[in-house]
C-alpha cells in the first residue's frame, strides 16, 4: 500500500506541497448516518492531487465509493470532513468549472442535440455574444462529429451518439476540469473503443485536468496518466496509485504489443482480484 489510512498525517507539510497542485483532495471522509446510530463510512481519509493537465482514472469495485468521490469533487455531494480544493479554493457547491459527463448521459429529452449544448453554453457563457455562443456550440458539435445530427432529439440517437453530446456539452463550456463518471460504461465494446479514441484525441490536442471513474482496466491504462485504485467499501481508501509510463499520443495497438502494458495490466487486475476475493469471502 502506498497510501496510509491513518488520520494523523503531517497535514501542514502536505498543505505546503499541495499549494502548487491544481486539484487537491485532502483528508476526505464521507459518512452517511444510519438508523442504527453508527454512521456508515463510505470514503475513509482520501488524499489525492491532480495536476492541471493530468488525466486521472479512478478504478475500483462497485460500491467502493468512487462515484461518491467524483460527486464530492463536483460539489453535488458534501464531504463529512476534510475537503477538496481547486486551485487552492475549497469546493463547496457545484460549479461549471468542474463539468460532469454522466454515465447515463443526462441529456434533456425535450431539446435537440444542438439545444442541449446551447443550454449549457447559455447558462455558463453569459458574457459572450449570441454569435460567439453559436460558434462555440457549432465548434464542439463538429469536434465530436455530431453536426449532421444536431437537429435530432436524444431519443433518436444511439448510446454512443448520446455520450458524444454529453462530451460536447461538457467541453463547450470550457471547464477547468472534466469529471467523467463511467462515461463509456453503458456502451457496447466497439462504440466504447471508438469513443475512447475520440476523447483521447480531443484531450491530446487540448490537455486539461480530467478525473474519470471506470471499472475497466484497459480503458484506464489506455487513457490515463495515473490510475488510482480504490479498496473495497465501506471504509474505502486509496489502495495504490499506478503511474502509466506511456507518452501521448497513444496508439492502442502499439500499447498492446509492449511488455510494460501487460505488466501494468496484470498488476492492476491482480489488485482488483485480490479485493474481489476479499469481497466474496
Amino acid at each position: 500500500m502506498v497510501k496510509s489510512s491513518q488520520y494523523s498525517q503531517p497535514s501542514d507539510q502536505r498543505q505546503a506541497e499541495f499549494e502548487t497542485d491544481f486539484l487537491v483532495v485532502q483528508d476526505l471522509v464521507k459518512a452517511y448516518p444510519t438508523a442504527g446510530g453508527d454512521p456508515t463510512v463510505v470514503l475513509d481519509n482520501i488524499n489525492l492531487t491532480v495536476g492541471a493537465n493530468e488525466f486521472i482514472a479512478i478504478i475500483g469495485h462497485s460500491g467502493c465509493g468512487k462515484s461518491t468521490l467524483l460527486k464530492i469533487v463536483s460539489g453535488l455531494e458534501q464531504a463529512t470532513s476534510g475537503g477538496v480544493f481547486l486551485e487552492g479554493n475549497p469546493i463547496k457547491k457545484p460549479g461549471a468549472d468542474r463539468m460532469m459527463v454522466f454515465q447515463q448521459y443526462s441529456l434533456l429529452p425535450w431539446l435537440t442535440v444542438r439545444e442541449n449544448v446551447r443550454l449549457a453554453v447559455n447558462e455558463v457563457c453569459d458574457h459572450l455574444s449570441p454569435r460567439d455562443r453559436t460558434d462555440l456550440v457549432e465548434e464542439h458539435l463538429a469536434m465530436v462529429n455530431l453536426t449532421p445530427a444536431a437537429e435530432k432529439y436524444p431519443d433518436e440517437l444511439s448510446g454512443g451518439m448520446k455520450q458524444r453530446v454529453g462530451i460536447a456539452r461538457a467541453l463547450a463550456i470550457r471547464p477547468k476540469m472534466l469529471l467523467m463518471d463511467e462515461p463509456f460504461g453503458a456502451l457496447d465494446a466497439l462504440t466504447r473503443g471508438h469513443l475512447q479514441r475520440q476523447v483521447l484525441d480531443i484531450w491530446e490536442r487540448n490537455p486539461q485536468a480530467v478525473m474519470m471513474i471506470t471499472h475497466d482496466v484497459d480503458e484506464a491504462i489506455y487513457m490515463a496518466d495515473r490510475i488510482v485504485m480504490m479498496t473495497n467499501g465501506p471504509n474505502a481508501q486509496i489502495g495504490e496509485i499506478l503511474e502509466v509510463p506511456f507518452d501521448h499520443p497513444r496508439d492502442r495497438t502499439a500499447l498492446r504489443e509492449s511488455k510494460e502494458y501487460y505488466e501494468l495490466r496484470n498488476h492492476a487486475l491482480g489488485f482488483l482480484d485480490n479485493y474481489f476475493e476479499q469481497m466474496a469471502a
Binding site: 457547491k93 457545484p94 461549471a96 434533456l108
Partner: protein, 282 residues
C-alpha cells in the same frame, strides 16, 4: 414467396418462426373492430325487436336521425336547434371550465410538487374531494351563481382540478435527479431550473392530467346539463327521452363518443407539438 424465404432464413439462423407481431395485416385492424361493432349492433337489434317497444332498431334509428345528421346546424325556432349547435354549447361549457380548472390546477400542482409542506397541507383536501362526484357540487354552485350556465361551468372547473393537480405534482416531484444535477453543475439559479428543467420535464405528466381531466369533464357535462336544462347535448338526451324519442338518444350517444375521441386526440396532438415526444398510451 417472400414469406417462404424469410422462413427459411429464420430456420437457418435457428430462430423460432413464431416471432411476429399479432396484427400484421392492416386489414385485420379494420375487420376485427368491425366485427365487434357488428356484435353490438346485433345485440341492440335483438333487444329492440324482442324486449321493448320503445327502442328503435339500428336501421330505424338511422332513418329517424337522417335529418339531424344531414343538417347539424339548423335553427327552427327557440329551443329547436340542430345537434351541431347543441354540441357547440356543451363544448363551450366544458372548454371554459376545463381552461379555468387548468389555470388553477397546474400552478397548485407545481407548488405542491416542489414543496413537501405544501403537499402536506393540500394533499388531504385533494384526497377528500377527488372521490366526490362533481355533480354533487351543482347545488352549491347554483346557490352561489343562481344561474344554470355559470354553475355548469363551475362544476366542470372543479372536475378538471384533481387529475391535473395530482399529475402535475407527481411530474414535478419525479423530475429525474440527473437533470437537476446537470442544472446544478451549470450553476443554474433555482427559478431558471423551474422554467428550463422542471417545467419541461414534467410536461408529459401534466398532459396526462389534462387528458384525464378533459375526459372526465366531458363525462360530467352530460349529467350536469340533464339537471340544469338549457341548450346542450346532455339536456337534449333528457328532453328526447321525455318525448320518448329514443332514436335521438342513440344519436347523442354516438356524437358524445366521437367528440370525446376527438378531444382526447386533440390533446395528444398538442402534447406531441409541445413536448416533441409522442404521447404516452393511456
Amino acid at each position: 414467396m417472400q414469406r417462404k424465404l424469410r422462413t427459411r432464413a429464420a430456420a437457418r439462423l435457428g430462430r423460432p418462426e413464431s416471432v411476429k407481431p399479432p396484427f400484421r395485416l392492416p386489414l385485420e385492424r379494420i375487420v376485427l373492430p368491425a366485427i365487434a361493432f357488428l356484435v353490438v349492433l346485433l345485440v341492440w337489434w335483438v333487444i329492440a325487436s324482442f324486449f321493448t317497444t320503445l327502442m328503435p332498431t339500428p336501421w330505424e334509428a338511422l332513418v329517424a336521425n337522417l335529418d339531424y345528421i344531414l343538417n347539424p346546424f339548423f335553427r327552427r325556432g327557440p329551443g329547436n336547434l340542430g345537434i351541431g349547435w347543441l354540441l357547440l354549447a356543451s363544448l363551450r361549457r366544458v372548454l371554459l371550465g376545463f381552461l379555468l380548472g387548468t389555470l388553477v390546477a397546474i400552478p397548485v400542482g407545481f407548488w405542491i410538487g416542489l414543496s413537501p409542506r405544501a403537499m402536506m397541507a393540500i394533499n388531504p383536501l385533494v384526497q377528500l374531494f377527488r372521490p366526490v362526484s362533481p355533480v354533487a357540487w351543482l347545488p352549491i354552485a347554483l346557490s352561489i351563481f343562481n344561474l344554470a350556465n355559470p354553475s355548469a361551468i363551475f362544476v366542470i372547473f372543479i372536475t378538471s382540478l384533481w387529475p391535473t393537480v395530482i399529475n402535475t405534482a407527481l411530474g414535478v416531484a419525479s423530475v429525474p435527479k440527473d437533470y437537476l444535477d446537470v442544472a446544478q453543475v451549470l450553476e443554474m439559479p433555482r427559478w431558471r431550473q423551474m422554467i428550463k428543467i422542471i417545467w419541461p420535464a414534467s410536461l408529459p405528466y401534466i398532459f396526462t392530467g389534462l387528458r384525464l381531466s378533459l375526459g372526465i369533464a366531458w363525462l360530467v357535462i352530460v349529467a350536469v346539463e340533464m339537471l340544469t336544462g338549457g341548450i346542450g347535448i346532455g339536456f337534449f338526451i333528457w328532453d328526447e327521452w321525455n318525448r320518448l324519442s329514443l332514436s335521438s338518444v342513440f344519436l347523442a350517444v354516438v356524437v358524445i363518443g366521437l367528440t370525446g375521441l376527438v378531444l382526447d386526440y386533440a390533446i395528444t396532438l398538442i402534447e406531441r407539438w409541445v413536448t416533441h415526444r409522442p404521447a404516452k398510451a393511456m
